[in-house]
Amino acid sequence: MNDEQLQARLHASDPAASLPPAAPHEVARLLEDVMATELTTESRETGTRNRGPLTWLVAAAAVLVIAGAGIFGVRALTGDDATPTADDPVVGATQLEVSAPAGNAKCMVPNAETLASVDIAFDGTVTAIDGDRVTLMPSKWYAGGPTDTVEVTAPSDQPTDAGLGFQFSAGERYLVSARDGQVSVCGFSAPYSDDLAAIYAEAFPT
């Protein structure tokens, strides 16, 4: 049996073959119902879609606490104090900072091998930018965390995009990695792209 014959044989047993098409008025009603649904302004990965209101409340509280703690300066996070456990409620914030690379730093093309050595890597959306502090809401953790928010701080004497090669802007989605609390630069952290996401996925197989 060749592939065409196999496909034909499978096709012949298609259980939907006898399904009559939907009546046009039913289709119209269905579409109207869907479009009448209230939309949330955020479009988030399905992973966080089903979080209960309590989680968001706790997250909001965590953001307030962190904002208070922020005046004591940025604390580098080593990743040890946020051991991921599946059942624990996800709270708190991971703090990272950006520092300009040494003058002669050379960039290598982002690759999974190098990326795998970072201790924090996540996919998140910028929810707030306050001066030199950027708050991200992670939708997926590849390594480290998980915490509900991540704050990235860049020294105030240089623009946020120094070293990073891009500027965070509110509402946009990013892939960010960090080692010893320092955000990886040179393309290892960047606005979300499928290519980079594939490298992240390769570096941190689930």
Partner: protein, 176 residues
Amino acid sequence: MDESRRERFEAVAPELIEPLRRFLARRTDAATADDVLAETLLVCWRRVAELPEEPLPWAYGVARNCLLNAERSVRRQERLAAKIATVDPPFEAAPAPAEADGDLVVALAALRPDDAELLRLWAWEQLTPAEIATVLDITANAASIRLHRAREKLKDQLRKTAGAAGHEGSREGRRP
């Protein structure tokens, strides 16, 4: 902003409904299919900005996830019901096609669920490996390798089933 969302959705969604209905009718009972269709469209509406140029495989992927979610919650309910009382096995709602290809059903059931799903997407939804990759959220390369292997496994199974039943060659076109 809201108007352009609406326009885009109205342009795309009617085309998706029929294939999605079929996709779901092949995989679940009528009531669940209706629920999951509505849910899938809702996700498309929410994420209309993310809809790719060729939205159908992406929409199949959404439908697949919604269906898996629905089945998970059904399983939860069933476990709960089983704790409360011993119940009869659930009524099989999906009627078999009039002239069921028994050997094929058996052979498909003998495959790993992932392999069987690949074959269904290929033969029933008539998707290319690249489109299957979008549905299953894997790379196109992986999809075409897995599809190839799944086809070979199904052929093996069909040969085995035919052999075991002792009516090998009784159906025209089974063997090349």
